[in-house]
Symmetry: C2
Subunit: 459 residues, 2 copies
């Protein structure tokens, strides 16, 4: 089995057959042989580079600052290499955090209904509003922000939180200083580097210059010591946190909002796992008084409805949030959404609306409940093996401590000996060193089997 | 009828009912009243700005350079204002270039089939490869680039060409100088401004500083005099052109590629209308020898299959294209695609694959044929009225000359007297002054009715 085939199993299970090439106007009908595709397969060899024609366009120096590959493709690459080494291994992926359970039928029916409608005169629609369809914006406001003072037109529907993070970075531009939780979801730091907000990567501390890394660890209850942080313009804050699984308390978020107000900073609050919260931790930053003047919130249907492949998210930019000159942040974000984006797929949006119906919400809660049961199984397993385990109560991620060990080494050992893919904590920042993130997204039998193998390895 | 309602008719015809808010965990069940949504409705009044809390984050100065709103939302705004003035007017939109005809059933069936499959264990898929699914990349390569030396892994599937243009600008960064056809699709210039590649807008010449505006007009056959252009890093070139409808000849494209090679420039070739070409003009820049070393090509299913709302496009970055230091452009683009994007919707991709089946290609050709008949009707109408008319043979746009007139004035007069929305040429750059773009996307009866009204106005 080739790398290519493995990758296609790993990342895509489309069952659509390859359709033979057909006549296209005056073009030749002779098709090229189907080449194998692999991720990141576009590196010229040194020899090619030496002799080949080069343009005179300088490479963007910010791109050159980035380290290795983006985390998850790198993990996919290692997984593929492992399969090449052990072609018969039954690999279980608890790495990338990819949803595995089918989308509830009440939602896929709406997706299919919209698809069919597009072939009728009455049901066809072309360009939608870049900001999203009005009924979906209304449903998001009333479902997630009722009584919180967020209005329909504060909400921008998108193709996912990751994409919105980059669009927000474009709004902010290169002359801002950002702070991130350490560890955190790597897209925050990488998009900051790409936009030129940072200095070079400093190998000794494993940090980019000109970013505030706000250490979150068991000692501080995974909430940073804000008194030690110098003033940032933009604070990326994810709760429940990816990767630690920690959900900030109301008191912590009150502190965070006050810190932002004291510093005149803008919080970008990533609440993509809010529906996984048990207990009364806030589900939205806007539950904190005054947050509308300092915070943007971004979220997604990916982990609620299994929309990781369908692509649908949203970002809230309250009209009360102003730059230092009084210009509304929402107005610039709107301009970016109109210029650099053309709205989420109208089919995905129809699915999103179905998600927010009473039946859809119930169905999503059931899927979330299933993954939370998986989480408990993983937590209990590592608990029983004597590990210190964090997260897992309010998030689908279990954050396992391997004190004193290099997390890529732990990742490799687990993969080598159990054929289970996890994520090394240091991939989320230097504060993740000594930890491994285990994702609870998986079929039940795979979670159980992975836990059996963990028990075998660490008994 | 309110502005809001008009806008929703204008931009979105989703028939999904508004779903009532439901319980969401511990949140209040009281919902906010449904507020009216309007595009760009996030301007604080001066009074609010004076007294409101402001953050200390400076507004990105590049955003401040942009002029007014992005063109098409601005036209939507004027259309809405017109409907407010004439609530009973039967407005016909030949402005934004939005497709109107239903998507062929062979394609929507595939969209629906994929939707349903997502609710089954076997058919479910989560995150796909950020670069697109392998079968779709293969089908794009063999359908559009057979014999041109473009391989599957040179092709990046996306949610549309407009989005890819911004992602390409992120790759290039702020230290490049770009050139655009004048007139041209406004996203090229606006994304360049946003990325900080330009100086300020110069009102007297209606151009941004540090962009080369390559004038394309009837006198030069809508192909720029390249000898008068100082060296650009990046050349945005759209053929068939939006808005002029001109398709470059093979000889012209050979000149363009040579110009890029002489200057070490990179061409971003927008071929989103290539399937509208009649005759033997090249459909892809890669038909020109040597283009793979100097050109990126971006395209889209929007105007082929009516996917303006479904969202699916692609960009070709050949591995032969290198920055001045020999680093492959594709490798940086891949990194951006992985960090700032998460792939196109898997449902849309299933639709794209169906588009490229023999039946899908035939169905797309029929839709394109329909719009081309519309184009002929519009061309003949303006011809018969004595106007100089350009475009329309290889593109769904007709470029009508109103010599000596201000194109916003012409736009306003047409709207006021015929209730037909067009697009003022100057919205595409100073070179568009004195022209109006009439889009051929419309139901046949609307095209015929619009032409009757034009004849009434200009008889």
């Amino acid at each position: 089995m080739s790398i290519t085939q493995n990758l296609s199993i790993s990342f895509s299970s489309s069952s659509s057959p390859f359709l033979a090439p057909s006549t296209f106007n005056s073009r030749s009908q002779v098709s090229l042989p189907v080449k194998s595709v692999s991720i990141c397969k576009c590196v010229a060899t040194p020899q090619e580079v030496d002799t080949a024609y080069k343009t005179k366009v300088s490479r963007n120096e910010n791109m050159g600052k980035l380290q290795a590959g983006y985390l998850f493709p790198e993990i996919a690459r290692r997984r593929s290499a492992h399969l090449l080494k052990y072609p018969d291994a039954k690999i279980i992926s608890l790495g990338i955090g990819d949803t595995t359970e089918p989308i509830p039928e009440v939602i896929t029916s709406a997706l299919a209904k919209k698809s069919h409608a597009l072939s009728t005169i009455e049901g066809y629609s072309g360009y939608g509003a870049e900001q999203g369809e009005k009924p979906l914006r209304s449903a998001l406001a009333s479902t997630f922000y009722a009584d919180l003072g967020i209005e329909d037109d504060d909400i921008f529907v998108s193709d996912g939180a990751k994409c919105d993070i980059s669009r927000l970075q474009i709004v902010f531009g290169s002359n801002v200083k950002m702070a991130v939780q350490d560890p955190s979801y790597p897209a925050y730091v990488d998009s900051s580097v790409i936009m030129g907000q940072t200095g070079l990567y400093q190998k000794d501390v494993q940090k980019f210059a000109n970013i505030e890394y706000m250490r979150c660890n068991p000692e501080n209850g995974f909430f940073p010591d804000l008194s030690s942080i110098s003033r940032p313009d933009i604070i990326f804050f994810c709760s429940p946190n990816n990767p630690t699984g920690a959900a900030a308390t109301r008191e912590q978020l009150i502190q965070l909002v006050q810190f932002a107000k004291d510093n005149g900073s803008i919080i970008v609050y990533d609440s993509a796992y809010a529906m996984y919260i048990s207990g009364d931790n806030p589900r939205s930053i806007y539950e904190i008084p005054g947050a509308k003047e300092v915070a943007i919130e971004t979220s997604s249907f990916s982990k609620y409805a299994g929309f990781t492949g369908v692509r649908l998210g949203w970002t809230v930019v309250p009209k009360q949030l102003l730059f230092s000159d009084g210009f509304p942040v929402a107005k610039d974000f709107n301009r970016i959404v109109c210029t650099c984006f053309n709205g989420a797929s109208n089919i995905s949006q129809a699915g999103g609306l179905a998600c927010l119906s009473p039946e859809g919400l119930k169905a999503m809660q059931e899927v979330i409940g299933f993954y939370k049961e998986n989480t408990s199984i993983i937590v209990e397993t590592f608990d029983s093996l004597g590990f210190k385990v964090y997260g897992g109560k309010c998030a689908p991620y279990v954050w396992v401590h391997f004190p004193g060990q290099n997390s890529w080494d732990v990742f490799s050992e687990i993969l080598e000996k159990t054929h289970v893919v996890t994520t090394p904590g240091s991939g989320f920042g230097p504060g993740g060193e000594g930890f491994v993130r285990v994702s609870a997204f998986g079929h039940r039998e795979n979670i159980l089997e992975a836990c059996r193998r963990f028990k075998q390895l660490y008994k």
